[in-house]
Every structure is written in structure tokens, then in C-alpha cells.
Amino acid sequence: MIVPSIRNDWVIMAIFTAVVLTAPLWLTPVGAGYPDLLQKFAIFGIFAIGFNILFGLTGYLSFGHAVFLGVGSYTAVWSFKLLTMNVLPAVIFATLLAGVFAVVIGYVSLRRSGIYFSILTLAFAQMSYNMAYSVLTPITNGETGLQLTMNDPRILDGPAGQGLPSTTLFGLDMSGYAGFYFCAVMLIIAFFISLRIFRSPFGLKLLAIKSNQTRMKYTGFNTRPYLLTAFVISGMYAGLAGSLMAITDPLAGAERMQWTASGEVVLMTILGGTGTLLGPLFGAGIIKYFENIFSAMNDGRLHEIFSFLPDWLENIVVAITGEFVGDGWHLTLGLLFMIVVIFLPGGVVEGIRRANGFLRRLVQSSGTNTATLAAEKE
């Protein structure tokens, strides 16, 4: 935890809720306060928090979690196509179906541990992706992605009006800020559940499995069901995230299931801090911020930002920074990964903790200084 002094979970939840709901306010100055990116923060936050329940607690590194994201998205879009544009059935079906997939994949993959487990999950993910991209096109619409059409049945909704309908929550349009707030509420719930799991006997048992699985067995625990439960929970989180992606933007593409997408959530979690409550959320935020904001910088933009510098310096600075933004944003991301791992083992959360400690020492030492001064005066 970032603030170890706060022991009361309800206080944590209250702060968390306040921070998430005011995100449009405090993210605007850094250029991230627009609906789509806010939605992405929340959605990938859920994805990473869920992934952390598996990886952070049990140590089982899945390289195939994007499958559940994809399954969630496809299920949600099919729910929009066949049933109704209301988002609730989509969320429920997507989460459940992702859970079913997680039971199957998890049951098989958890027969092995370590990197063998990782490769099993990766293999399932790659198979799903390759099939979704080509052979399963009738279900997934292949490369183009599954989308709404005018002649979808939508049996629970009345006849469609002009143009494609949009996703709604009982009439409330789910695009823009409304969509973000829906995702935000889901994020808060997801975070709450994760918090409870972390603080529960179940969570402690998962941690113990990570620490020494053999011993767990001789201590009287059947570890397989524990692992499978954690796997399914995190799969359902991914399914939920996938459904939210479809809700805020009703199109589901196969590339969501590619290994790079699975790898992305791994990177998010490690970058932020594996096994910490908030770390995955930070990781998700940082990677999505880079992807959306750094990639959109161009020289013109940089010149605006550095216009306060003298011209010659401005040109040099723009030339140098230009290598790291726009088409160079991958370079920055790669460097960031390296810097964080090298200097901050434990991820961003570790960095915050250190900064926190440093500040505290600073405050304390200045406090003592004042005290000494005061004493001398007397």
C-alpha cells in the first residue's frame, strides 16, 4: 500500500472513489482528461487489477489473459447484436463466459507450474487469436472486427431508428463521460473486491501458495482449486474489462487477443508493482498514457511546448525530444521499462514509497532542526 498508515479499508475506498470520480478534473492538465482515455484507464485498470489477483498473489504468470479480454468483448457485442443495446446483460454475459473460458484454460494450464504454465496459457491465447483472425470469422468477423449492423435482430429492443443504435444503460447513452463514469463505477467495485481478496484468509492462502506451494499441500490445502479460483476470478476481471471496451466502443477485434495484448497487462502489472493493490492501476495508466499522448506529439506540438525557450535552444530541445515522441514513443516506453526495473525493483509503487520515505525523513530532520534551534534560543 502506498499509505501504510491508513489501516481502515473504508477510508481507503472513500479516497479511492473520490480520486477516480474526479479523474476528469485532475487528468486534464496533463492532457488525459478526455472520455476515451479516461475510459481506457478504467478498463485497463480493471484488467490489470484482475491480472494481479492471479500473478501478484499466486505468482502464476499467465501469458494468455488477453483471451478473456477478447471473449468478453465478443460476448458483449453479440449481446448488443442479438438481445439489446442495454449494457447490463452484456456485462453479465461477458463476465460469465470469460469465466467459463477461464475454467477450461485454467484447468488444463494449472496442471503445470512455472514457465510451463506461462507457455501453456500463451499457446491457448495464440490459438484463440489465430482462429479468431481467420477460421472463426463467422463469429468474430476476423480482421475487421465484430461490429453492429442495421439488420441485427436485437430481440429485446424495439425496431431500430435511423442509423446504428448506441449502447445505453436504461436509456443513458454510454459514450463520452457517461461511459467513463460507468467504467469508473465498475473499477471501484473491481478494486473493492480485489481489496477484500487481498485482506481475506483466501488471499493469504494464495500468497502462501506463491511463497511455497509444496508446503501448502503438506499443510493440508488442496492448492489446485485455489489456483483455479484465482485464475477464474482474474479471467472474469478480464472479461469484464473486455465487455467495457465493447460498451464504450462497440467493436471487437481479434488483435485484442494477440500475445502482445497479453504481454501488455503483464508489463502493466510489473511496471506498477506486482502484488500491490494500486500498482497495476498505475502501470495501466502509464502505458495507456504513453500510447495515446506521447504517440500523438509531433514537432509542431513540441515547438509549442518549448516555445518559452530561446529559439536556438528550442530547436535543439525539440530535435532531441522529437526522437522520443510521435513515432518514437515505443523507444520511450522501452527505456521506461528498463529504468523502472533497474532503479525501482518493485515498480512505480516502490518509487512512491521511497519518495514518501525520503520526504518524511526530510520533514523529520527539518523538524528536529527547528527544535534544536528553538532549544538554543531558550
Binding site: 476528469p24 472486427g145 442495421m150 442509423g163 471496451m245 518559452f308 510521435g326 513515432d327
Partner: protein
């Protein structure tokens, strides 16, 4: 412009919070749940009385098509210059009819924002949404694959922002996935097939057996279908049509069955890296030196891109294919564009650059003609718009499906290139009439003007 600039510099000088708070109360509150609450004639990202408008250039900056994306971006910057009356004006001097006056659009200066599609639908849509929601663009353009084009086009329809597609060749873009707000200047697989037909007949006769290797996704399938229709109409047989995984890298296991299949033509429905690899490897397997059924074995790459073809090196020599545009064209529009692009960047533009440059100009011109940025009015200007002087002869944006019709180039890999830019030779300019088709054959529905 000035408003934006002051905001940014203020940000970097002072704290974030103050500006942020005002920006949010100003920007986000009124947008709450009010998508349907636009007043008549008001619309998303209406520039109103602002002195400038923004275009969104959504191109691949990372991934396999990054070089094409970079070339698209160069063309866009040039187009913005020309629209704003800077530089030598390029096609503004040749395009007819033209309402643009070289003073921006409706007197407003054109600015732009850029984004990275990563050649992924999700990333492309996220980038497009940022442009629409955060940067307030009036139009989005770019892209280098059909999947992305269809995905972004669908989004733009929902959001009510016009999308001028970049490089996309699938029949679906203006077929079953066409949208009222999406426009494609680039040609498509059907037109490739139609243009190749007569040339193939002349070069290879009517007694041929074709073997298809097809990238296993929607674009590959539509191209395979279109080319098959054309060749079978010529009397060719199709020996086999084999689907290959995208990004297979090594295609040897798909090429060896060609050797003794009895086929005498290999058609590669691949693009980008797949095309480079499969062509390189097919040539290594000696297919070009082969004699089958008493005829020389031939390889055809129906969709050629000069930029990508460079990667195949000498292997493209003598290979037939089609392309949307080539810098060696001698019409006035092409010459003017090649000249200004060359002066700006020192090398000739690619077909991706030409199509995106023209798309930007076409949009700007349509707004100027409509006298308004109101999308339905702009769309009505673009629909059925006939123009000339933008390369490929007299051109029409067909109203029925938003597909541009113009001459198609049949090209051949140059046997003796004089430079690295001279690797394709225009074999024949196939007139537009020969590649036209009934818009109904691909189905789809454009959707409403008002969203």
C-alpha cells in the same frame, strides 16, 4: 491557435491545477450526456467563430507500415501548407473544379494533430477518439490497412466526423462496410482485378492455370475473389487457392506444393511484409525460371506498393501488378504534386502519399464549396463530385458507395531501374470505364446523414 498556444506554455510555466480546473469546468460539464442535444445545424467539433480548424492525421507510426505512415504524414503536411496558401500550391493549381482560395478553409487556417494507428483497430479507434474528443478535429484521415479503415470509418459515423480513408484496398470499405461519413479515394480489389484482366489476357493468353496464395483475412479474401472472377472470366482455371497465416514469415511450405501442382501462374494475394517474403521466397524456389505446360511460369502480385516492393529487391523485376498511382505519371496534377513533394522532401511521393494528399484537399474543397463545416452539407458536396487534375485523369466520387473512380495503373517491376525510386514501370493506364462496377454488387448501406 493562439488560445491553445497560451494554454500549453502556461502549463509548462505554472502549475497544472488551475488551468486544469478551468478547462474541465469549461469543457467537460456541458458535454455531459448531451450527445443528442445539439441544436439544429450545430454539430460535433463545430469550429464556430474560431480562426482555425484542425484535421486529424491518423497514420501508422509504429509497426510494419510505419514507413508508409510516415509518407502519408509528409503528404498531409504538404496538403495543409497548400491549403493555407504556403509553398507552391501543388495540386491547387491543377485541380478543377476548385473552390479553395489558398487562404485556409472558409478563411480559417488549417492546423493538424497526429496519431498512431499501430495498424490495429483498437489503437486506431483510440487515436481517432482522442482527436475527436480532446483535439476537436473536424475531419480524420489516414491509415494503411482495410481493417483500420473500416474500424475508424465506423467510429466516425457514430461520432459524426468525416473520415477520408487512406490506403485501403478491400472491397468491403466501400462495399458491405461502407458508411455515410467515410470516403475512399484509393482503388479496390475489384478494380485491380478488372484492370489486370485484359493485360493478363494479352500477356499470358487464355489457357492458364492459376494458383493463389492468399493472406488469411478479409482483405486477402476479397482480393482473391476479385482476381479469381477476372481470371476465370478469361478462361483460366484455378488450380488451388491456399490461405496463409498473416505474418507467416517463411512461406516455403506453401510454395513447394505449387511446384508440381500443374499451375503455371502464381497469384500472391499478399501485402506488406507477407508480399515481400512470399515473393522473395517464390523466386528463390525457381518459379520464375520454370516452364510448365510449355509456358513460362508467371507470378502476379495484384496489389503493388512501390514503397513496400523495395523490400523484395530484384525479385520484383518483371512481375505484373496494379497500383493506385505512380510518381512517373505525366498528367498535370501528378507532375505538380511530385514537384512540390520532391522539393520539400527530396524524393518522390508514394501512392499512399498521393491518395492522402488528395483526400485532404478534397475534404477542404468540399467544405469550401458547401460554405459550412456541417458534415451532412460537406458529404453532399463530396457525393458525386467530379474533378480532374489530381492524377489518374477525370475522377468521380460515386454517391452510391463513396468509392472514387479513376484510371488504374497496371505496372511491372522494372528490369533496369535507373534509381531506387524507379522500380516500377507503368505498363498500361487502364481507363476508368473499364474498372467501374455496379455499387449494388457488394451490398452494404451508407447510413444516415444526421447522427
Amino acid at each position: 491557435m493562439s488560445e491553445d498556444k497560451s494554454k500549453i506554455s502556461e502549463l509548462s510555466r505554472r502549475g497544472f491545477i488551475k488551468v486544469g480546473a478551468t478547462a474541465v469546468t469549461a469543457a467537460s460539464m456541458p458535454m455531459f450526456f448531451v450527445k443528442d442535444a445539439w441544436a439544429a445545424k450545430d454539430f460535433r467539433n463545430n469550429p464556430g467563430n474560431a480562426g482555425s480548424v484542425k484535421f486529424g492525421f491518423n497514420v501508422p507510426q509504429t509497426g510494419a507500415y510505419a514507413d508508409e505512415g510516415a509518407d502519408e504524414l509528409r503528404a498531409y503536411k504538404l496538403a495543409v501548407k497548400h491549403i493555407n496558401g504556403e509553398g507552391d500550391g501543388g495540386m491547387l493549381n491543377t485541380m478543377k473544379p476548385l473552390s479553395l482560395k489558398g487562404n485556409g478553409i472558409l478563411g480559417k487556417k488549417v492546423e493538424y494533430v497526429t496519431g498512431d494507428t499501430q495498424t490495429k483497430s483498437d489503437a486506431a479507434r483510440a487515436s481517432a477518439k482522442r482527436m475527436i474528443e480532446k483535439d476537436g478535429v473536424v475531419m480524420i484521415t489516414g491509415g494503411s490497412s482495410s481493417g483500420v479503415a473500416v474500424a475508424v470509418q465506423g467510429l466516425c459515423q457514430e461520432m459524426g466526423v468525416i473520415f477520408m480513408a487512406g490506403l485501403t484496398h478491400s472491397n468491403d470499405t466501400t462495399g458491405k462496410d461502407k458508411r455515410r461519413y467515410g470516403f475512399r479515394h484509393f482503388f479496390n480489389a475489384y478494380m485491380s482485378g478488372a484492370a489486370l484482366g485484359p493485360v493478363l489476357q494479352k500477356e499470358m493468353g487464355t489457357e492458364r492455370k492459376a494458383y493463389h496464395l492468399t493472406a488469411d483475412y478479409t482483405w486477402g479474401w476479397t482480393q482473391e475473389e476479385s482476381i479469381k472472377n477476372t481470371t476465370e472470366a478469361l478462361g483460366w482455371q484455378t488450380t488451388a487457392a491456399v490461405r496463409t497465416p498473416v505474418g507467416a514469415g517463411d512461406f516455403s511450405q506453401y510454395i513447394t506444393p505449387v511446384l508440381n501442382s500443374g499451375a503455371d501462374v502464381l497469384i500472391l494475394n499478399h501485402y506488406g511484409k507477407d508480399m515481400i517474403n512470399s515473393l522473395t521466397q517464390a523466386v528463390q524456389f525457381g518459379l520464375r525460371d520454370k516452364q510448365v505446360n510449355g509456358k513460362n511460369f508467371e507470378i502476379i502480385v495484384p496489389l503493388f506498393s512501390r514503397l513496400m516492393a523495395q523490400g523484395a529487391g530484384d525479385n520484383i523485376k518483371g512481375i505484373l501488378g496494379t497500383t493506385n498511382w505512380h510518381w512517373s505519371l505525366q498528367d498535370e496534377g501528378s507532375k505538380a504534386f511530385v514537384k512540390s513533394f520532391g522539393q520539400e522532401y527530396g524524393f518522390p511521393p508514394s501512392q499512399a502519399a498521393q491518395t492522402t494528399y488528395v483526400q485532404a484537399l478534397l475534404y477542404a474543397n468540399a467544405v469550401e464549396s458547401a460554405g459550412s463545416f456541417y458534415p451532412p452539407e460537406v458529404i453532399k458536396q463530396l457525393e458525386g463530385f467530379k474533378f480532374d487534375g489530381a492524377g489518374n485523369g477525370p475522377t468521380e466520387y460515386r454517391a452510391d458507395d463513396h468509392q472514387c473512380f479513376k484510371d488504374v495503373l497496371v505496372v511491372r517491376g522494372n528490369e533496369a531501374p535507373s534509381s531506387q525510386f524507379d522500380i516500377l514501370k507503368v505498363e498500361q493506364i487502364v481507363p476508368r470505364s473499364q474498372v467501374e462496377y455496379d455499387a449494388k454488387i457488394f451490398g452494404g448501406e451508407l447510413g444516415p446523414y444526421e447522427v
